[in-house]
Structures are given as structure tokens and as C-alpha cells.
């Protein structure tokens, strides 16, 4: 509830864009904005009740114990105490006594599939490091659905993840949001209707990669690069909007003067030439694509906020955001999420000032805090990373409950991906993406015993149910 105000500007922009695009729908749809649609369809699952577990709802509450009812893959009822009499006819009851139930964990920063295991040049598909601006690439085209790291993340309770292009480029390309499900195709993993994200990167990486390849070679070169791209994108957007309004006028004229149809068609406006790179940047300016900006240092984040204001787009999240604690007030004011590690520091100079209290301090400033992994190891233990961050905050005197900290892994993450109306909390009407833990999820000893996506049980320690990728067949005797 704390963050309810933060996302409103984004919603309004998105809403307006949707309204506009529906108005234009009758104009000749010049191209398909969703050429790789999700084909994800969960198999049927029995209606299920989970009873007796301590529930961390993901939106800040704890129910001890509570119940959840799942019908048709969605949560249809939940609450404190025991299962209501009206629900007792349900076909499957899972006894969660002594267990903890949480929403499925969401990792907003992952490279599973685009930096797959085994780790060889052949599986290195995350950075199109051929030019500093590659907004034209869509990282879903790099994702290998047989990456054996996906099942390991599932064993850590991760049900949804955003795969991002790497950070070599100023503008790296589109992200994709996936359900962590076994599938022959990436389309079969794509989170239905999740908005696309755009990866941008500050600081050391782009200038290192391009310093001797024609630039940018400096941070000032980086900023000039973003601005040049947005200037181009604004012009492209204007060109298309001019075309759209001409089309509207043309169509209106055509309707009025249907007798002179031939003449009208002769004057039909010509669509501008399509540019894949600009399509994506225009999507950002139209509020359809969310910006996830890799940025470590506080001063650089402040500059990126000004760049976004100059060109009229919203930064949805800063990724890594190692120094967010220094400007937590500014981030709260601008409604920007920080996706952070619990304790990473000193692995490069721009991470030098990383502190264990970063997440807790951002949260205390009422800015949106998210625990992310950016790591095939870390994604298996995001609950432990949140636990470390919570403990660091407590040690400096903050009162942080587990129920509150669970938001860093679930609802806040869902909000930054624009899917919080679908998942990210144990709430009625949401997808039944759930994890039943053997104990308190903030303990190192607790493990997910059951993981459910859209009500389908995909991992069950009791029966040994778990996915095995094609890659692992005949290679890995046991995967855990």
C-alpha cells in the first residue's frame, strides 16, 4: 500500500497510450506490435486448497495460519484461519501445517537462457556488443529454454523472471518476462501480456566496451549517447504521429466522400520507413515499454533522472542501484524502483560503496525496494538475500517484519514489471503462483517444498516432481 502513489504516473501514461492506440486501430495498422506472442497455456490443475500454513501475502501481511483456495489456476479465496465450510468440497487439499506459504518469487534481473549453462562462448547471448545503442534487439531471441539453470531457480521458488540484455551497451535492447515453466519454446514461457522492458546501462560497462571501439569512452560520452538516441526517437515518434493523424484525416475523408474513393486513395499518406531500433525507443516514449536502467552510482542515477525528464519518459527501475541509499529520497520522489543485491560490493569500482543496509534504507525512505539476483547462483536463494538485507536493517535499529520484507521479492518486483495485477501477492483473482516453504523463508535452512505456477504443481519434494531440461538428460545424475 505504501507505494500505491508511486506507480500512478506510469499507469496514466500507459493508459493514455492504450487509448490512443485503440483510437488508431481503425487506421491501417502499419505493423504488428506483438509478433512473437505468448503461447503459454498452463495445463489443467485440480481445484486446490492450501491450509494450515503461515502465509506471507507479499503485500505486507502475515496470516498465521491462513488458507488459500485455487480454482482454475487463480486464487479465488484466501484469508486467516481455517478453510471456510463453503470451500470444503474442494478436490485437493494441501496441508501446510508448520509450513510457510508465499507468493512465487519474482526475479526482475536474470540472464537465465541468454547466458545459459554450460558457460561457453556458444551460450553467451546476452550482450549485442556491436554498437552502443542496440534498441533493435529483443533478448527473447537469445533465450534458450533448455538452460538447466531454470529448474534450479524453480527449486529456489522463482516463478517469474525478467531476462534482460547485458549491460555492455548504453541501450541494450528489450527484456522479456517469463514464467519459469518447462517449454519447448520461449513463446511458451512468455508471461501473457507483460509489458516489454528496455535495458539501459550507465557507467563503467559501456565506456569500457566501446572505449577503444569508437566510443563512448567516458561517462560524458555515455550521456551524449543516450540523448542522441532519444532525440532520434522523438523525431521518429513525431513522424509516425504525423502519419497517424494524416491517416485519421484520410480515413475520415474517405468515409465522407466514398464516391470519390479512387481519388482519396491516391492521396493516401505514406507510412514512414520502419526502424526496429526506433520502434522500441518510441515504445518507451509512448509509455508502453518500461525502462530498467543498470546504474550503480547515486550521481549517475540523478543524471539519468534528468535525461528521462528531458525526453519525457519514466524510469521504472534502477538495476543494481548499489548507491540508492544515498539518494533514496530522490528515488521515492520520482517513483523509481531500485533492484538491489543484499551485499555485493567491490567487484568493480562503481560498486565500491555498496553497503548491506542499502535495501533497508531505500525501503525506509518509502522508495520501492526490490531484491534481485543478476546471478544463476543468487536466483536460487533470493529469500536468503532478502533475509540478509532485513537483518542488516534490523541491526541498525529498523523494525522490519518478514511480512514486510517479502514485498521486496514479490509485489514490488511485480509492480516494476507491470504485472502486479496478475501476480506478486496472495490475493483473490491473481494467478496461483505460490511457494510452500519447509519453514520460515528467511531462514537459510528453509527450502521450497512445493512450487506452483497458475495452480499447477511444478515442483514437489514429497514426490520428487521437478522439471529436467533436455540438456540434463543422461548428464546430471541428480540436479540438486
Amino acid at each position: 500500500m505504501i507505494y500505491s502513489g508511486i506507480f500512478e504516473p506510469l499507469r496514466v501514461v500507459t493508459g493514455l497510450a492504450l487509448l490512443l492506440s485503440s483510437l488508431l486501430a481503425f487506421a491501417a495498422a502499419p505493423f504488428d506490435k506483438n509478433p512473437f506472442p505468448s503461447t503459454y497455456a498452463p495445463p489443467d490443475s485440480p481445484d486446490t486448497a492450501i491450509i494450515g500454513a503461515t502465509i506471507l501475502t507479499g503485500d505486507g501481511a502475515q496470516l498465521a495460519p491462513g488458507y488459500v483456495v485455487i480454482r482454475g489456476g487463480r486464487i479465488t479465496a484466501m484469508g486467516e484461519g481455517s478453510l471456510p465450510a463453503a470451500e470444503k468440497d474442494i478436490s485437493r487439499v494441501i496441508d501446510g501445517n508448520g509450513r510457510w506459504l508465499t507468493p512465487g518469487i519474482i526475479d526482475v534481473h536474470s540472464h537465465l537462457g541468454n547466458y545459459a549453462a554450460p558457460d561457453y562462448a556458444a551460450t553467451s547471448d546476452g550482450n549485442e556488443a556491436t554498437a552502443p545503442v542496440t534498441a533493435q534487439v529483443w533478448t527473447e531471441h537469445s533465450v534458450w529454454p533448455q538452460d538447466p539453470q531454470f529448474p534450479l531457480a524453480l527449486a529456489g521458488g522463482v516463478t517469474t523472471l525478467q531476462i534482460l540484455p547485458g549491460s555492455a551497451n548504453l541501450i541494450g535492447g528489450r527484456s522479456v518476462v517469463l514464467k519459469n515453466v518447462s517449454s519447448r519454446t520461449v513463446q511458451g514461457m512468455k508471461f501473457p501480456d507483460a509489458p516489454y522492458g528496455l535495458k539501459m546501462a550507465c557507467g563503467e560497462n559501456p565506456k569500457r566496451v566501446y572505449g577503444e571501439k569508437g566510443g563512448p569512452a567516458t561517462r560524458m560520452g555515455n550521456v551524449a549517447g543516450y540523448r542522441a538516441a532519444w532525440i532520434k526517437a522523438a523525431a521518429y515518434k513525431e513522424k509516425w504521429e504525423k502519419y497517424d493523424s494524416e491517416m485519421i484525416a484520410f480515413n475520415a475523408a474517405k468515409t465522407k466522400k466514398s464516391r470519390k474513393q479512387d481519388e482519396a486513395e491516391a492521396k493516401a499518406p505514406t507510412a514512414p520507413e520502419r526502424d526496429l531500433e526506433m520502434d522500441t525507443l518510441r515504445g518507451v516514449l509512448d509509455g508502453e515499454i518500461l525502462v530498467h536502467n543498470h546504474c550503480y552510482r547515486a550521481d549517475e542515477m540523478a543524471q539519468m533522472i534528468d535525461v528521462s525528464k528531458e525526453f519525457g519518459y519514466q524510469i521504472t527501475s534502477f538495476q543494481h542501484a548499489v548507491e540508492s541509499y544515498k539518494i533514496a529520497d530522490l528515488l521515492a520522489e520520482n517513483g523509481i524502483c531500485s533492484a538491489m543485491w543484499a551485499d555485493w560490493t567491490r567487484f568493480k569500482l562503481e560498486s565500491f560503496d555498496g553497503i548491506d543496509e542499502n535495501i533497508a534504507l531505500v525501503d525506509r525512505a518509502k522508495a520501492c525496494a526490490i531484491v534481485h539476483s543478476d546471478s544463476p547462483w543468487g536466483i536460487q536463494r533470493l529469500n536468503q538475500e532478502a533475509a540478509k538485507a532485513m537483518a542488516a536493517g534490523k541491526r541498525m535499529g529498523m523494525a522490519i517484519s518478514g511480512a514486510h520484507a517479502m514485498q521486496w521479492l514479490t509485489l514490488n518486483a511485480a509492480r516494476s514489471l507491470g504485472i502486479d495485477d496478475q501476480t506478486g501477492s496472495v490475493s483473490v483473482n491473481k494467478m496461483a503462483d505460490l511457494v510452500l516453504w519447509s519453514g520460515d523463508p528467511f531462514s537459510v535452512y528453509s527450502r521450497p517444498e512445493k512450487v506452483m505456477i497458475d495452480g499447477v504443481l511444478l515442483l514437489d519434494e514429497a514426490t520428487g516432481l521437478k522439471p529436467v531440461t533436455d540438456f540434463e538428460l543422461g548428464l546430471r545424475v541428480k540436479t540438486l
Binding site: Q149, Y325, K326, D343, T345, R346, K388, Y445, F471, R476
Partner: protein, 434 residues
């Protein structure tokens, strides 16, 4: 003769150092009472117990109440039931040998394009004033093995054991082992084949044996030319004599089998490092009493050498009777937390005490310092951690840290940054004055 002189000098130095140390530690006794003492010995866990420290050493433990010899002016710490453990030991790290990742600082633990082999001595590059030391210490690590990495040959060089107390110095045991890399990654130093890498190692050991037998002839120039330098050869002498361990990095189960068999005739003290597929050959390791140092959080099939990597590696090895110790490998990886790693291993089948042993007494045994470290018992060096929770829990940290009998600060560069920015609403001079 030369050698004897050297060792005498070392003894004098050590005596001086310990004199200085005891002078500075002339303070009264320190008593930690009402503790949940994890002794690491046959005494197991003692609740409501106390431990008495004097002159940098543990004097005695009392299962109940205070030891009778407690001085009346002793500093008394009430642990209020908290866990008290021995200091933790990270069995492979590079603390003090680099300051920053990302190519910013020197990596003084790895050689590039040099001929040097076993003679490479990482201790000479140590920075005992590194600001990383307090950061590692606040996580409960009081001792570590710092290792060389193979960068220009399979024989990486000599490791050292360090203390993180800052006093009287960082280096504890110099050149305690020779590290060899026989992973897939290092076969590039042997013409691209791991088969050649193994014969290169055997050749190096044979050369050292030859040198040992005919030192005078070698020095007079009457021995055939050897591939290694005299410094390298000398470093291998304690290895072939079985006095110091040869630490061999390998992950693939088949490689572990082959190398152990090839090394059988040499009668070495072998420590397996990495061993991501070690569980597959656990019986063989147990039979040869080869301990394994593992990274307990690495279960990724990152290469075809590591397809069998799994989180219950430690549990399976211990079950088979293999001694296991844990390492974080370096200070910047995703597996940087030793306690978290031990906790993860426990969550995957390892007994809690075995998890604790893998970061206390086992590394002390493996690296040959168990008479002094790794457990809470009279006569041992007082490296003590007073925890604010279960030591293997991710939410726990040591509330107090004693190294060599002295309390050390739990402040780090990170806590200074935290404090500077703890109140963003403050008024007055800018943050740079905070």
C-alpha cells in the same frame, strides 16, 4: 646449513613476535559467561557455559559457572545464552592479494606469462592493511588460506595461512601448501590437454626428487638441465617428502580418479580443491583419506567438467567418511559468504555440527594448525565469535569478535558509509562533513 640458519632466524622472529604479542595482551583475563559454547571437541555444545581467555589463549572452559582460576578483575562478558564459536576459517580465498575486482587493482595471486611455478609465494604480495579484511572479519572469518591461481602454468605456487586480526601481522604460516590446477581451464598450460597436464605434474615432482637426491651435483652444474628453476624445485621438496600438502584443483570425477591413482606412488598429502563431482568418487577419497575443500553454494553445470555439481556434495562426502572444509573462493563472487555456504550445505543434508566443523576444526586439521586453532579448548589461540543468532543463519552476525585474545572492531568502510547516509533529511553542512 643455509637452511638451518634460515629456520633459526624464523624461530627467533617468532619468539620476538610472540613476546610483543604477550606484552600487548597483558590485560586482565576476559571471561565470556552464560554462553552456548560450540566447542568443536568431544565436549560438544555446552549451554550456560563460560570460557576464560588470558594472554591470547583459552585458559579453560567451565560447563557451568566460572572457571576457578578467573582473576577477580577479569573483564566479564555476559553472552546471555548466545552462541560462542571458534573463529571461522575460509579454506581458499585471496584476501590481502587484491583490493578491488573488475581489473581495478592488481591480482597479486596470479601470474601471467612467467616461467615461475611452485616457487611463487603469494605471501610476499599480502597487504595486511587492506580494507577488505575488516569486511571479511565481521562475517566471522578470523583465519583464511590465501592461494595462488594458475595463470601461466599448472603449478600455481605456494599458499599461506593468514589471520584477520591485524595484530601482530597478517601472515601466520608461510608457504603452507603448493597449489596445482588440473581443471579443464588450466589444460591450456599443457598444450591443451589435461592428459599432458598430469604428466607435467608428475615430471615436476620427479625433477624435485632428482634435485633432492643430487642437490650438490645440481649446484655444481653436473646434473642434466631441469625444466624448473631451483626456487621452484625447493618449493616442491616438502611436498614430495609428504610434509606439506599438495592442493590439487579438479572438478571432474574421472580426473580425480586418474590423478589420485597416478599420485599413489608418490605418497603425498593431497587436498582436493573444488571437487564439484567429488561425491561421485567419495569412496575413493575416503579410502585415501583425501580431504576436500568445496564451495558449498556452487551447483551449476557451468562446464562439462562440472555437470555433476550439486548442493548435497558436502553431505554425500561426509557420509562417505571424507573430511570436508568450505571455501568462498574469492571475495567478490556470488558465493562470498562462508556462513551462508555452510548453512546451504546444512539445508541440503549436512548435519549442523558438520557444517560448523567445515569452517572451524576441519580446515585447521587439513592445513595443519589444529593444535592451535579451530576449536574451543584450553591452550588454543583465543579466536572467539559471540553470535547474535545461529552462526550458520544468514540473518546472524558476530556481535563481538575476538582474535588472538583481543576484541577487534566491527566497524568497516561500509558501516561508515551507512552512518554518513543514515539520515537524508539532516540539515547543515553537506554529507561530506558527516
Amino acid at each position: 646449513m643455509m637452511k638451518r640458519l634460515q629456520s633459526r632466524r624464523v624461530i627467533i622472529m617468532t619468539a620476538l613476535t610472540s613476546l610483543l604479542c604477550s606484552l600487548s595482551a597483558l590485560a586482565a583475563d576476559t571471561l565470556i559467561e552464560n554462553a552456548r559454547l560450540v566447542t568443536g571437541t568431544s565436549q560438544g555444545i555446552l549451554t550456560g557455559a563460560s570460557v576464560l581467555v588470558r594472554d591470547g589463549r583459552i585458559v579453560s572452559l567451565a560447563a557451568q559457572g566460572r572457571p576457578t582460576e578467573t582473576a577477580t578483575d577479569a573483564e566479564v562478558i555476559d553472552a546471555a545464552g548466545a552462541y560462542v564459536t571458534a573463529g571461522f576459517f575460509d579454506s581458499s580465498n585471496v584476501i590481502g592479494l587484491l583490493e578491488m575486482g573488475g581489473g581495478i587493482s592488481n591480482r597479486d595471486y596470479v601470474l601471467r606469462e612467467t616461467e615461475m611455478g611452485a616457487g611463487f609465494q603469494v605471501s610476499l604480495g599480502l597487504n595486511r592493511f587492506s580494507s577488505l579484511i575488516p569486511m571479511m572479519r565481521v562475517q566471522g572469518v578470523t583465519r583464511a588460506l590465501v592461494r595462488p591461481d594458475a595463470g601461466s602454468g599448472n603449478i600455481a605456487g605456494q599458499s599461506a595461512i593468514v589471520g584477520l586480526g591485524g595484530k601482530p601481522g597478517m601472515l601466520m604460516v608461510d608457504n603452507n601448501a603448493v597449489f596445482v590446477d588440473l581443471t579443464e581451464n588450466a589444460s591450456k598450460f599443457s598444450g591443451g590437454s589435461r592428459a599432458k597436464a598430469i604428466t607435467d605434474l608428475l615430471d615436476a615432482l620427479d625433477e624435485a626428487a632428482l634435485y633432492s637426491k643430487h642437490t650438490a651435483a645440481y649446484q655444481a652444474g653436473n646434473l642434466r638441465e631441469l625444466r624448473q628453476s631451483e626456487r621452484d624445485l625447493k618449493a616442491l621438496l616438502p611436498i614430495i617428502r609428504g610434509v606439506k600438502p599438495l592442493a590439487v584443483s579438479m572438478d571432474r570425477a574421472a580426473d580425480i580418479e586418474t590423478v589420485l591413482r597416478q599420485l599413489d606412488p608418490y605418497k603425498l598429502q593431497i587436498v582436493l580443491i573444488g571437487g564439484r563431482e567429488a561425491w561421485q568418487v567419495a569412496a575413493m577419497l575416503a579410502e585415501r583419506q583425501v580431504p576436500v575443500v568445496i564451495n558449498p553454494m556452487d551447483n551449476l553445470p557451468s562446464s562439462f567438467d562440472q555437470l555433476g555439481a550439486r548442493l548435497d556434495n558436502a553431505a554425500l562426502l561426509v557420509k562417505a567418511g571424507v573430511m570436508v572444509a568450505f571455501m568462498t573462493e574469492d571475495v567478490f563472487t556470488e558465493t562470498r559468504s562462508l556462513t551462508q555456504g555452510a548453512g546451504v550445505a546444512v539445508a541440503h543434508g549436512l548435519a549442523w555440527q558438520d557444517g560448523l566443523n567445515a569452517v572451524t576444526i576441519n580446515p585447521a586439521i587439513i592445513w595443519g594448525i589444529d593444535k592451535q586453532y579451530g576449536a574451543l579448548a584450553p591452550g588454543r589461540v583465543a579466536d572467539l565469535l559471540v553470535w547474535d543468532g545461529d552462526p550458520l543463519e544468514v540473518t546472524s552476525r558476530p556481535a563481538k569478535i575476538m582474535i588472538d585474545g583481543e576484541w577487534v572492531s566491527i566497524q568497516t568502510r561500509q558501516t561508515l558509509l551507512r552512518d554518513r547516509y543514515s539520515d537524508l533529511n539532516r540539515t547543515g553542512l553537506p554529507f561530506g562533513y558527516q
